[in-house]
Point group: C2
Chain length 250, copies 2
Amino acid sequence: MPDNKLNSDTRERILDVAERQFMAHGYEATSMRMITSMAEVNLAAVNYHFGSKEGLLRDVFRRRLTWLNRERLAALDALEQQANGAPLKPSQVLEAFFGTLLRIGEDESLGGMTFLRLLGRTLTDPSEFIRTFFAKEYAVVIERYKLALFRAVPDVPKAEIVWRLHFMLGAMSYAIAGTDILQVITGLEIGDISGKEEDGKSEARRLSERLMPFLLGGLRAALPNPADSYNQQQVPLAKTARNTSLEKKR
Amino acid sequence: MPDNKLNSDTRERILDVAERQFMAHGYEATSMRMITSMAEVNLAAVNYHFGSKEGLLRDVFRRRLTWLNRERLAALDALEQQANGAPLKPSQVLEAFFGTLLRIGEDESLGGMTFLRLLGRTLTDPSEFIRTFFAKEYAVVIERYKLALFRAVPDVPKAEIVWRLHFMLGAMSYAIAGTDILQVITGLEIGDISGKEEDGKSEARRLSERLMPFLLGGLRAALPNPADSYNQQQVPLAKTARNTSLEKKR
DNA sequence: CTGTAATTCAAACGTTCGTTTTAATAATAA
DNA sequence: TTATTATTAAAACGAACGTTTGAATTACAG
């Protein structure tokens, strides 16, 4: 068992194909035979180089997240050093966090939109293995950014900021992952805008321009008024159709 | 092949177990033998009642989405009728759309948090079958709400509103689906807040109170300034060690 | 009660899955 | 060179998959 050493080219070709197939069909629905045949390597090569299918998925993420984590921390370091002890602006923190991520989408050598979509989709994967992997992989970076946000938005309670970081991650992941289904759901207008190609690497940039103001608006939104419950009264309507959920029909 | 008639109780028990297992492990990783053994029915029962595993998944969603779609349209109808031709407030539209959804999480007979999580996770599923299914299932409702949002937020361009609807769906789905991984990623504070149980059905309500202001803030956020690209200058630092946000590096 | 349809059941179907084994080949060090 | 290790190759492993079959059982209309 090697597990170290430089790329044998086989390794890299497997990672490339696996990244794309996991993105297109999901982890469970992608078989090793699909991967190895498309990569034009022997079936046993995956187990030889990565130990198992899980090991392959882990390394697919590792080679991208290593860069991402380093870059995200560096971006925050630079901002804080320049701020000289003063709190950062919320837009700066978000730009460092989400802008760094979206840069991946513009650079094919960092994984491009393929990896971004894979990342967005995998974050909702329920499997235990994936959950613990990401928790470990992200822990340090998230902690740093959480603290930066606490300082950047001092008028919003910390607990609320954590919730909103949660929401922001979701909005971003979905916006990235959902190119297929959500753009169908929300209509073709986005397709019109994105218009396939004006320049080669515009998709991530266009997304960034739309996403960042949205996230900023959400992050700094007015606090929920504890007096009114959001669920009952905004919609004053009558008792609509009641019928719980099923039966009927057929 | 029957496919009609009322519930044989077997049908219902299969749907309940399948809903929970699909949520917990994902569609592909859930086998029919897991489902049928936990539901204490014969292995062949799924194929008999639903035709196939895909048919089962489809019906798992149908029995919930039928209610949700009807309720969402009814909520919008009631608001618009009451408004008497005047545009609705953004908060009203969001409350009708997301509030209705989150009500599912408070009512076990509508699917509860189990179904909400399943829904959130499934929306990112890459499989063709699921994508087209949701596109059809959602089309009418989304179209109605899109129009309502256009009127409710007239100062935001329509294309931008579609993007933000996209983002809002993502924030919501992730917030729902990601109870496991994202709460680990974003730290334990949320767990402290949610604190297991104060009252029986509080989880969805707590989520709603946090989510709604965030979505409203994002929906009405200031437009991106076309003059400045978000990628270059929000992080104003020098060319020093830090590359702004994209290219360069490496 | 009788007869027909609906449902349940045990068993097996053929396929595909991830992984392992054993041998052949390529690469590298002494 | 030779010895040693790393990599590739072909074939097979047992297990699990979704589905189908055909008989046994139940439900129910006449």
